[in-house]
Amino acid sequence: MTSLTSTAVVVPPHSRTPVLFKPGAWLAISLVVGVFAVLPLLNLWLPVEHPWHVAQHTISLLGKFICFALAALALDLVWGYAGILSLGHGLFFALGGYAHGMYLMRAANPAPGQLPEFMVFLSMTEIPWFWTFTEYPLYSWMLVLLAPGLVAFIFGYFAFKSRITGVYFSIITQALTYAAMLLFFRNETGFGGNNGFTGFKWILGFDITSPQTRAGLYWASLLALLGALLVGRWITTSKLGRVLMAVRDGEGRLRFLGYEPAGFKLFVWTVSAMLCGLAGALYVPQVGIINPSEMSPANSIEMVVWVATGGRGTLIGPIVGAGTVNGLKTWFTSTFPEYWLYALGLLFVLVTVLLPQGIVGLVRKTLQRARGART
């Protein structure tokens, strides 16, 4: 099937010199991070009537967006830099969410040994074995990274060893997330079935709905995003990053040069899954619910569109993309609810046809033109 891997691949210009980031870009990033970090303070310290007061629901909303941005960043690592299109990253997001959710469900009960409500309802008499230790937050947080990481590792090991690439791989990831969704929808599986986990009350002893806790979760998400950005930058600007880009641009040639791509792919794939899981874990307490529809194939595809809209292979792009698309979604579903799907669909089509480099690519080109025009 030559058409799949023909050399008519569009090679992004910046793949040749991944300088992340130029000093100007660092300045911009710091500014933006600073502004975002201050927002919860505007919510907590300013009275409601103050014109600069930031409403509670805005903080929750932005916190959610930051988690999505983190997930998009994780996806960009594998897609933008290693050329592995995963249509099942929602699974890792959800697994992280469920892992953290298990702790939150245990924490919502007054007595630590007590069963969560949905188990009582299903006539379970004791905590299933995979729920042990989840009353300890540290264990749960470990699980947040381990669960998606393990699943990704096993799946990736076999997939990459068998040299499954391109469209086949993407479809298989869809199958994986779909199967997992069906599994989690089953009430017998022990994860709350269709209702999932909800009704959280406490996190680490703090009331989960108080503005202070919300601000704390917001800052944690922001920190995680920043951390992921730095980790991503470290990976992609290192030698490992060069190999990954070689995988994306010409895996066959890389093999002929003596490298074994499977190991590199597996590494970045697992790291990406863990970051995604982290995003999910931070998302769940801010939204208050996790249920198997997070694993739906459609969700994972939407994540890909965040990355594509922002600009893949840039690390900043997916963050911008996640913010833009979700902002649009929030706005459209309130103002023009009947037209939201048209807008989203049109966005998909326009971005892939007209804007293959995404928003960041467009900005870059504009800046280059401006610079070129000046000289």
Binding site: A179, L344, G345, F348
Partner: protein, 536 residues
């Protein structure tokens, strides 16, 4: 011997009574009782009418099975057809009188009604009506009316009808005192292989409280034998049934995935809007049905034959438009095509939702596709699924002919094997692409026609089949029709074989896991494309 004479005498009396009543009209009080408030009263009315044997009563009972029936306080009975008919005289009337009350039926009444009517229908003209009537009586054995069955048996010469009536008589005779008749009945029931007689037969093996058996050993042995026969039949039926269900599900998957396989094989494009093409095919069927209903109501049973070409053409056009406007710009970028087509699918879903509403639309099965074929005993295989199975094979056959015996098919195969080379030797790839996309889309439309006969037609129709279609394509590999066919049929069969044991969800998950594992071993699917191609 004695009892036979007795029966004959009863039959004579019954006939005499029937003929004696032939000229008298229906008792108005009895007719009025049909609209009584208590269900038991209405039930009594129906049963009395049935047992009276009067032709007038029979007409009323028959009318009750057809449509709404209204009864005036004077006892006149009207059928709410177009135009309304006075049941007792048979004359059409302009309209039903205001004072008439509707006869309200519920399941219990309908069951009794069907039984009463069945006794009369045993003597109907058409054999399948008689068989249906006999079957109806099998579930409601009435020992006191066995003689009617006997009369019907004697009156008929059709073997199937006689068999059906014999079984009905057998179940009614289980309680009789005549030993020979009883044993005969037990054997007949055993041979029928129908599970519905198990309970009645098992009752014969019952013990009373003090430990003694109710029935003599000869009866018990015969019963045990009969039960064994039924069990064996049932096992065979279960396996055959599962096999058929699997093939049926496989044929549905095949129709759903075939179009996708063609497009994928040719252009390496995974068309995420494929599900929506299925949906458009289904909605085209709906529109054809509406059109036929409006302009040629008599031909409503044949709307499907019009729907097939219409759906094909409509979806083919949509596919070609899609190719020209979106896919064309994304050559060599299969992953982007995937995303773009997903966007198109969202737009199509919302468009259909805006035009037709978010609710499902009604697509009825034509008469000749409703019901089922009773293969053996309890195994009933629905007609619509049989037709869909053969339709799927037909589509595959036509496709095979098109691919292997036409010029454009030749081009398509060439492009699938090596696009660059085909281009070099002069194959007009762009035109062939557009045509192939149209063909794949058209087949998806045909799949949509089939799906409209099986389940809901709504904006989300495509979403429920898209993942399955992918799995078939991925498993079947590309370049060979056979791959898709085998993949679809196997997936359907395996799913249906697992389902009775572990439930629908686990079966589905197992299939998905199986595919994931299979792909590890054979990444290109069952039928991998042959030939030299530089794989990165």
């Amino acid at each position: 011997m004695g009892s036979r004479v007795l029966r004959w005498i009863c039959a004579c009396i019954w006939v005499w009574m029937a003929s004696a009543h032939a000229t008298t009209s229906l008792d108005p009080e009895l007719a009025k009782q049909l609209t009584a408030s208590q269900i038991s009263q209405r039930l009594g009315a129906i049963e009395t009418m049935g047992q009276s044997g009067s032709p007038q009563a029979a007409k009323v009972l028959e009318a009750l099975t057809l449509a709404n029936v209204f009864v005036t306080p004077q006892g006149r009975v009207f059928l709410d057809s177009k135009p309304p008919i006075d049941v007792l005289t048979g004359e059409p009337v302009a309209q039903i009188p205001e004072a008439a009350e509707r006869v309200r039926l519920n399941n219990r009444l309908r069951g009794a009604l069907q039984t009463e009517v069945a006794y009369a229908l045993l003597f109907a003209e058409r054999p399948d009506t008689q068989i249906q009537a006999a079957r109806q009586l099998q579930s409601r054995p009435d020992a006191t009316r066995v003689f009617i069955l006997q009369r019907a048996l004697d009156a008929s010469s059709n073997t199937e009808v006689r068999d059906a009536i014999a079984v009905s008589m057998a179940i009614a005779s289980l309680q009789s005192d005549d030993l020979a008749m009883k044993l005969d009945a037990i054997e007949q029931l055993g041979d029928s292989g129908r599970g519905q007689f198990k309970v009645a037969l098992q009752a014969l093996l019952a013990q009373s409280d003090n430990g003694t058996f109710d029935q003599p050993p000869s009866v018990r042995d015969a019963t045990a034998l009969a039960l064994e026969k039924i069990e064996r039949q049932q096992t065979i039926q279960t396996w055959l049934g599962n096999l058929f269900f699997g093939l049926s599900m496989g044929s549905v998957l095949l129709l759903a995935a075939l179009g996708l396989a063609i497009i994928f094989g040719l252009m390496g494009v995974i068309n995420m809007a494929h599900g929506e093409l299925l949906m458009i095919g289904a909605y085209s069927t709906y529109l054809v049905q509406s059109a036929v209903q409006a302009w040629w109501p008599a031909g409503i049973d044949f709307y499907i034959l019009f729907a097939i070409p219409v759906a094909f053409v409509v979806t083919a056009c949509v596919g070609m438009v899609l190719e020209k406007t979106v896919i064309r710009w994304l050559y060599g970028r299969p992953l982007e095509t995937l995303l773009a087509t997903w966007g198109v699918s969202l737009i199509l879903i919302q468009a259909v939702r805006s035009i037709f509403g978010a609710q499902n639309v009604e697509v009825a099965n034509p008469n000749w596709m409703s019901g089922g074929w009773q293969v053996m005993g309890d195994l009933v295989v629905s007609y619509n699924r049989i037709y869909i199975f053969f339709f799927a094979l037909f589509v595959v056959a036509v496709l095979w002919l098109a691919l292997n015996h036409t010029r454009i098919g030749l081009f398509m195969r060439a492009i699938t094997q090596n696009r660059r080379m085909a281009n070099c030797v002069g194959v007009p790839t762009e035109r062939v692409d557009m045509f192939a996309f149209g063909l794949g889309a058209g087949i998806a439309g045909l799949g949509g026609v089939a799906l409209s006969q099986l389940g809901n037609v709504g904006p989300d129709l495509g979403r429920t089949y898209i993942v399955d279609s992918f799995m078939v394509v991925v498993l079947g590999g590309v370049g060979q029709l056979a791959g898709t066919v085998i993949a679809a049929l196997s997936l359907g069969t395996i799913n249906k074989l697992i389902e009775p044991m572990s439930g629908a969800v686990i079966a589905k998950i197992a299939i998905l896991v199986f595919i994931i594992l299979f792909i590890q071993k054979r990444p290109q699917g069952i039928f991998a494309p042959k030939g030299r191609s530089a794989e990165a």
